[in-house]
Amino acid sequence: MKSNTKTNEMTNGRIPLRPGITDTFKEINWNKYIVYIAFVGVFLFFAILLQDRGFLRMSNILNITRQTAMISIMAIAMTFVIATGQIDLSIGSVTAISSLITALVLNSTQSILLSVLVGLGMGFFIGAISGVIITRLNIPSFLVTLGMMSIAKGFAMWITNTASVPILNDRFNFIFGTGDIFGFPILFVWTIVFAIIGHYALTYTPYGKKVLATGGNEQAAKYTGVNTKNIKFLVLSISGMAAGLAGILYAGRMQAGRYTYGEGDELSVIAAVIIGGTAMTGGKGSVIGAIVGSMLMGVINNGLIIAGLSVSQQMIIRGFIIILAVAVGSKQKK
């Protein structure tokens, strides 16, 4: 026992400055990778189980990327929100209102640019209001965005009296929904573009470091000169804007604006972000993890549908998988 202590002291005293291979191996935070392992596992499971029913067919795979694009894009922005220790529950409703406003502006002006700017602006505006209330009045984001979820949904239902607004502009529908580029769904391309921006911003920019610092220890960040209120305001505004974009993409894909879009999306998005290795308490975040998390949710949905399960059965199984994935992830943390 005594000799043990001594060797411990020796290694503690001499920490190698350049990490060797063993250190690099040790530095791997396995919790970060649980989402990739789960993704591969679930994918293989469905691939084997549903091999006769076309799960692996290219058209189905591309379809999964179409279905998950909106969740992925919102999850990228939500990664920043959760990394600062906040939450945004209003994104589903923002999606709905943005799809409608975009459709209305497009139909009355036929200007794609203007309609898209209005849709994005709507999302940013709602996020910014939440951000102002959270940072100026010091109210928890959970409560503010819960209220905002209801307000935005109410407006979405009100502006057209719950009627949907068809979009006949083919160019809009191509760019934001149904199109393909070099054989890839345009929605997948949008996802990749935002993934790159999000990953770069979180990992390589001072802004990303400020986001992580705000969630990691707000007091410390403040005393280092990080304007944490500003950061919180920004992540919520951008989350709103991402939800606005998701609404535009829903509108393009379905060729209509409708108040039912995005219903329940906030839960899928939050689950995807957490499964992807972002800490619920803030301070740690992974954009790529969030995207793979979204894909995982998409694969599960798609697989369960092909397997012929009813909507109710799908919900039950999806719930169990979310709990399981988060549980395994948080166990690895220790």
């Binding site: 005293g13 400055l17 001072p206 220890n217 007091q219 960040a221 403040k222 280092t224």
Partner: protein, 498 residues
């Protein structure tokens, strides 16, 4: 421009209460100035004004000869004034180099952090501070001591000319403290001015050139360290000739054995020999030794916190202690060393904190009667002289000394036969120290036994009837306390293995 910092006639009040009353404070380039005073004396407020956290009501501040009005911490930081906080201002989930360069990252272009450069600069800084830390390690994975040094590196990365340190050694081991003091010497030689806030007199005289004493929001004195001594400084702090109360009072210790353990096995990473300890009724036993000598481990083992079972006897009854529940049932209580982490629920009120261990005692038919609880809390607050406007006040808003009194009250209310105390006065001002020592004496007087672990020699000498000195997991010396016991002798025993 003789003074780097000159604060003149500073006034500050919070909601009508004067916290700083016409304080003037000036420091020269390359000077190490200790700032001492009881809790509530105004040290933190003064420093928070200097660093722009609080605004100034009246008075003026000159930095490098220029009048300044910092509106927030980052403005002060940009001007070269950095503060190293007691509650570390590092982000645990980020790496060492990310922490050091947070908000001042080296950039490749407007957006892109130059990570290679950042790592290299971190290594250079670490080398200049002789700290061996891997820049990509997460702060949550490095030792508290190293994070304190990383914090200093962070200040230096901003090219701090004035460094304010608030209780920097509170959580450092002796070796780390030595590294810190070397570092302070180096910085001083480079012309960095250091303002050093501490309760630890020994350290202050080791490291400071001059000492400013604050009391009740006013400056009492500023003296050269060479021209004064601990006694004088303590006298300035408490405003009367220091501490009859804080000197050993011979006490009558009973002949009856209260607690006894033979061949205690301590199953922790710190090696501790099998140990015999006897404590008599009314006795206060001290465990002295350096960090890592096994002091804390012994207390924790008696309290059932470590794996393994030990047979003990209390008042002639034998118990086997394998868990904390066993220990509590045997009549043992432990007041842990880190009150913020282990001793209190900081967000809860005084009342809620007090009633936690006494839940059984104050509940009737499984429910808690609010009137009984309130009576209970009010009695405790007045018995232990906790200074607070009411029992519903959130505990984190009390001063360190009053928080510690609540921790003590919380355990004493259970009336344990054996009270174990780990660093009972850490981070507490001298006035509260005297009161806490008196509380412990009175408790022992009621026929109980107390074992105290402390790094502060003065405290052990003031309180304990008998002191066991530990060295590398062995009890190397047992000293009977008396009025004539000299500090040097005890210090010698602690520092030397024999």
């Amino acid at each position: 421009m003789e003074h780097v910092i000159e604060m003149k006639h500073v006034m500050k009040s919070f909601s009508g209460v004067n916290v700083l009353n016409n304080v003037s404070f000036a420091v020269k380039k390359g000077e190490v100035r200790a700032l001492v005073g009881g809790n509530g004396a105004g040290k933190s407020t003064l420093m928070k004004i200097l660093t722009g956290v609080y605004s100034i009501d009246q008075g003026e501040i000159n930095v490098f000869g220029e009048p300044v009005h910092f509106r927030n911490f980052s403005e002060a930081r940009t001007a070269g004034i950095s503060m190293i906080f007691q509650e570390l201002s590092l982000i645990p989930s980020m790496s060492v180099s990310e922490n050091i360069f947070l908000t001042c990252e080296p950039l490749r272009n407007r957006f892109h952090i130059d990570k290679k450069q950042q790592k290299k600069q971190t290594l250079d800084l670490m080398k200049s501070l002789s700290v061996e830390v891997n820049p990509s390690d997460l702060v949550s994975d490095i030792t508290v001591g190293n994070s304190q040094l990383v914090e200093i590196a962070k200040a230096l990365a901003m090219e701090a000319k004035v460094l304010i340190m608030d209780e920097p050694t509170a959580s450092l081991s002796d070796r780390e403290t030595d590294i810190l003091f070397d570092l302070i010497g180096k910085l001083k030689a480079e012309g960095v001015t250091i303002i050093y806030i501490s309760h630890r007199m020994g350290e202050i005289f080791k490291v400071a050139d001059s000492i400013t004493v604050l009391k009740d929001g006013s400056t009492v004195s500023t003296r050269d360290a060479a021209d004064t001594d601990i006694k004088q400084v303590i006298a300035d702090m408490i405003g009367r000739e220091a501490g009859e109360e804080y000197r050993y009072k011979p006490r009558t210790v009973g002949k009856e054995l209260l607690f006894s353990v033979k061949g205690m096995k301590v199953d922790t990473p710190v090696y501790v020999d099998s140990t015999d300890i006897d404590v008599y009724k009314g006795e206060i036993l001290g465990l002295a030794g350096l960090m890592g000598s096994g002091r804390t481990e012994i207390l924790e083992t008696i309290f059932g916190l470590n794996s393994g079972k030990n047979s003990i006897s209390i008042n002639g009854n034998n118990y086997t202690i394998g868990s904390v529940t066993d220990a509590v049932q045997a009549g043992i209580a432990l007041v842990p060393d880190d009150r913020r982490k282990k001793g209190l629920v900081l967000d809860h009120s005084i009342k809620e904190n007090l009633l936690l261990p006494a839940l059984k005692k104050i509940s009737r038919n499984g429910s808690i009667r609010n009137d009984i609880v309130s009576d209970f809390a009010r009695t405790a607050v007045s018995d232990y002289d906790v200074k607070t406007p009411g029992i519903n006040k959130q505990i984190s808003l009390l001063s360190g000394g009053n928080q510690q009194k609540v921790v003590l009250a919380k355990w004493l209310s259970l009336n344990p036969d054996l009270l174990l105390l780990d660093e009972p006065t850490a981070g507490v001002d001298i006035g509260a120290k005297v009161e806490i020592v008196e509380m412990i004496r009175q408790y022992a007087d009621s026929g109980k036994a107390v074992i105290v672990v402390s790094s502060e020699i003065h405290e052990l000498m003031a309180m304990c009837d008998r002191i066991m000195v530990m060295h590398k997991g062995r009890i190397t010396k047992e000293i009977q306390n008396s009025k004539d016991l000299e500090e040097e002798r005890l210090q010698y025993e602690i520092q030397h293995e024999n």
